[in-house]
Symmetry: C2
Amino acid sequence: MTALTAELIDRLEQVVGAAGLVRDPQDMARYLSDWRNAYRGRAALVVRPASTDEVAAVVRLCHQAGVALVPQGGNTGLCGGSIPDASGEQIVLSLTRMTRVRQVDPQNDTITVEAGVVLQQLQEAAVAAGRMFPLSLGAEGSCTVGGNLATNAGGTAVLRYGNMRELTLGLEVVLPDGQVWNGLRGLRKDNTGYDLKQLFIGSEGTLGVITAAVLKLFPAVRSTTTAWVALPSSEASIELIGIMRGLCGDRLTGFELMSRQSVEFVLRHVAGCSDPFGERHPWYVLIELGDTQPDASLNVLLESGLGEAFERGIALDAVIASSGAQVKALWTMREGISEAQNHEGPSLKHDISVPVSCIPRFIDETDRQLLDRFPGVRIVCYGHVGDGNLHYNISKPVGSEDAPFKAQHEAIMQVIYDATARFNGSISAEHGLGQAKRAAAARYKDPLELALMRSIKQTLDPAGLFNPGKVL
Amino acid sequence: MTALTAELIDRLEQVVGAAGLVRDPQDMARYLSDWRNAYRGRAALVVRPASTDEVAAVVRLCHQAGVALVPQGGNTGLCGGSIPDASGEQIVLSLTRMTRVRQVDPQNDTITVEAGVVLQQLQEAAVAAGRMFPLSLGAEGSCTVGGNLATNAGGTAVLRYGNMRELTLGLEVVLPDGQVWNGLRGLRKDNTGYDLKQLFIGSEGTLGVITAAVLKLFPAVRSTTTAWVALPSSEASIELIGIMRGLCGDRLTGFELMSRQSVEFVLRHVAGCSDPFGERHPWYVLIELGDTQPDASLNVLLESGLGEAFERGIALDAVIASSGAQVKALWTMREGISEAQNHEGPSLKHDISVPVSCIPRFIDETDRQLLDRFPGVRIVCYGHVGDGNLHYNISKPVGSEDAPFKAQHEAIMQVIYDATARFNGSISAEHGLGQAKRAAAARYKDPLELALMRSIKQTLDPAGLFNPGKVL
C-alpha cells in the first residue's frame, strides 16, 4: 500500500492536470525500470509537470505530505539514479514534458532550455543558430538536459569542451521545500558569492530538481579529420596524445583508446566492421581533429604528428579516413564495443578515471592482478585517454559457466577499485553513483568528504525527501 | 585590547615558530591595509604558517579559542577581502610562506602548488615544463594562487581559458574546525558525489582556507598576432567578436574593448603611448590570436575577419602589430587605462558583467542616465567583451571640486548597479565582494540566493570565525 492519500493525489492532479499524472501500472512501467532493465522499482505515482510553476507546486505538496520524490529525465542512466526504490511509496517526478527552448542568444553564445529537452534537440537548436553544443554521448537521442546536468555528463568531447558542468552558466532549480531558485544567468564572469549552481550539477537529484539551464554555445566546427592508429602499448597512447596536443592544441577533439580485445569483440559482433590493418596490434587509438576553418590543413598536422610517432616507435600503423563513410566506420568500431561485449556473455563494467600519466601503470598492474586471480577473464579496456577515463570491463572466460563468474563480481570490482584508489582516481568518472555505486563510494571516499556531503544534503534537504537512497 | 591570551600566542608560536609570527606593529602594517590603501584594519597578530599541518594547527587553536581568522595571500585584492576589521581582535592568516610547487605532471597536464605560490612563479613553472598556465592579470607579480582561487580570478585570458574555477581540478582545504580536506585529485572526470571544491573557489576565505591546488596546464602557444581596431560603436564590437570567433574559434585569445575616453586618458598620462590612427574614433578593440603551431597563418585569418568587418562598416581603421615592441605598445594602451584614470582626480570604479548581447544597450542607457543626472562626468568604459565584463568607471567633471563628486558616489553606483540588474548581470564580475560590495550584494542579489549562501556558511563555519564581515 502507498502512503499517498486520495486527497494528495487530487491536489497533484489539480496542479498538473490529468495529462500530467500517470497511475496505470502498465503506463508507469517505463518509468520504473531503466533501459537495460538492470534496476527496477515501484512508485505510488508518476507526476509529469509541464512548467516550473507546476514542478514547484508538486514539490510543495509532497514536502508538506512528507512524500519522497525521484526526479527523472530520459531515464538513460547506468547507475539506477532515477529509479525509485521498492517501497512503492515514492513519486517519480518526470521532467519530460518541460521541453521548451526558452531563448537562443547567438551574440552571447548561450541557449536557455528546460530540463526535459532531449540532448539531440539541443544540439539541433544550436546548429540552427549557427553554433554548436558539444556534449555528445551514446544516449543523445533520448537523454535529457536535466539528466545531463544532474549527472554532470561526459562523453567523447570532454577532452576539448569539458563536462556538462563546464558547459553550464546558469540554472533554475526547485528546492526541496518547493521554492524556486532562479539562477538563470548567462554570465561568463560573476563573483558575487558562492557559486550555488555547482552544488546541483552532478548531485543526481538529491538536493533539488533542475528545471532549466543556460548553456554555452560554441563556434561551428567546419572541418574534421579522423585517423585510426595501431600502437605497441597503452603507454604509447600517452606519448602520442602529448605529441598531438602540443601540435594541435584545441584542434584535438577526440582521442579514444581501445585494447585489441575490445576491437576483436567489435569485429566479431558488429555488422560491417573490418580491421583496417592486416596485422593484429595490441592497442589502437581513434584520433579526431576539428577546426572552425573550412579548409584547415588538418591532415598536414595529423601526418606531422603521426610522422613523429612512427619515428619514435610509438605508432605501428595508421589510416586516415578519406570519406565520411570511413569516418563513420571508424567511430562505429569505437562505439560498438559496449554492445559487442554483451554478445560474449555476462560482463562486469567499470567507469573509472586516474591521472592521464597513470593510465599505463593502472592497466598493467590491474590486468596482471586480475589474470592472476581470475584466470581466463577477458579484459575489455577502452576509454577517453585525455580525460584519464577508462571503461575497464571484464567478460567471463571462454566456455565457462555464468554463475561462478557472477559470484566473483565483488572480488573483481574490489581489485579494480583498489587500484583506482592507489592512483588517487575515481570509481565513477562519468556515470555518477546512483544506487549502483553508493556503497562503493562510502568505502572508497574520504570519510571527511562524505561527512561534508552529508552536511550539505542535510542543509538543503533536511527532510531527506529528494531521491533518498541515491549518492549518499 | 585584544582578546588573545598570552597562552594562545605561546601555543601559536610553538606551531609556526618565531619566524611565523608577526607582532611588531610596524612589521604588521603591510598585512593590515591593501596596496591602494583603500582599506585599513587592525589585528591582534599575523600568523604565517609554512605547511598545511601548521595551518591546520593554527586553525584548531583559534577555533578552540573562538578567535576569528582573516586568510590573506598576496594582498592585491580590490575589495578589501583580506583586510581585517577595526577591532584588533582578528588574526591575519598569511599563506605567503607556503610556496612549494609540489608536483608537475606534464603527461597529465597538471601542476600541484601551494597557496602562497605567486602567480608569475606558477606561470614560469608551467613554461619550464613545456606547458602554459593561462591565468594572467595585472597583479601577477605579487598575487598568490590562494588568492586567485579564493576570488575566482579572471583577467584577459578568460575568453579562451575560463576563470580560475575552470582551471582547477583539485583542492586541499583546512576547514574552519581545523580538519584538512584532501581533495587534491588531478582528474578531469570524477562524478562520485557533490563537487565540494566548487564551494571554496570564489568564497573569499569565508568557508575555509585553501592551502594547495591541482591546476590544469595547457599546450604552449607558439604564435600570436595582435591588432588594434577602430570601431564606430560598442555594438560593432559585438558583431566583430562574432565574426572573429566564427573564423578563429579558440585561436581568439583576447578581445578588449575601450572607449575613446579611456584611450584619451592613456595618451595623456602614460609615457610613450601614441594614437595608432590620425583620426579620433569612438571605440577601439584590441584583438589577440594565438596558436600552438609556430607558423600558423594568424595574420591571414585576422585580415580575413577585418576585411569582412570593413565591408560591413563595423571597422573604421586597423593596425596589425608588426613587432614585439608594437604588441607591447598596444597592450600598454589597454593596461594603462586604470592607472591613467587616477591622474584625472577621484574616480568611482565598477566591475560589472552582463550578457555579451546586452553590452551596447547597457552602455547606451547607462551613459545617458549618468550624463543626464551628473552632467560633465567622464565615463571610462573598457573591458573584456567576450566575457560580458565591463570596467565602467566614472571620473569627476573637468575642473570640479572633489568633495561634491565624492558625495555622489552612492547615487552614481546605484544608477550603474540598477542597470546591471535590469540586464540580469553581476555587480562583481571578477573582483569578488570582500567588504566593499557586501552591502550592494545584499541589496541586488535574490533573497533566496542569499539565504542559501547563509545556510552554506552556517553549515561549514557555524562559529563564524572565517573572514567574518566579508561576502555575507
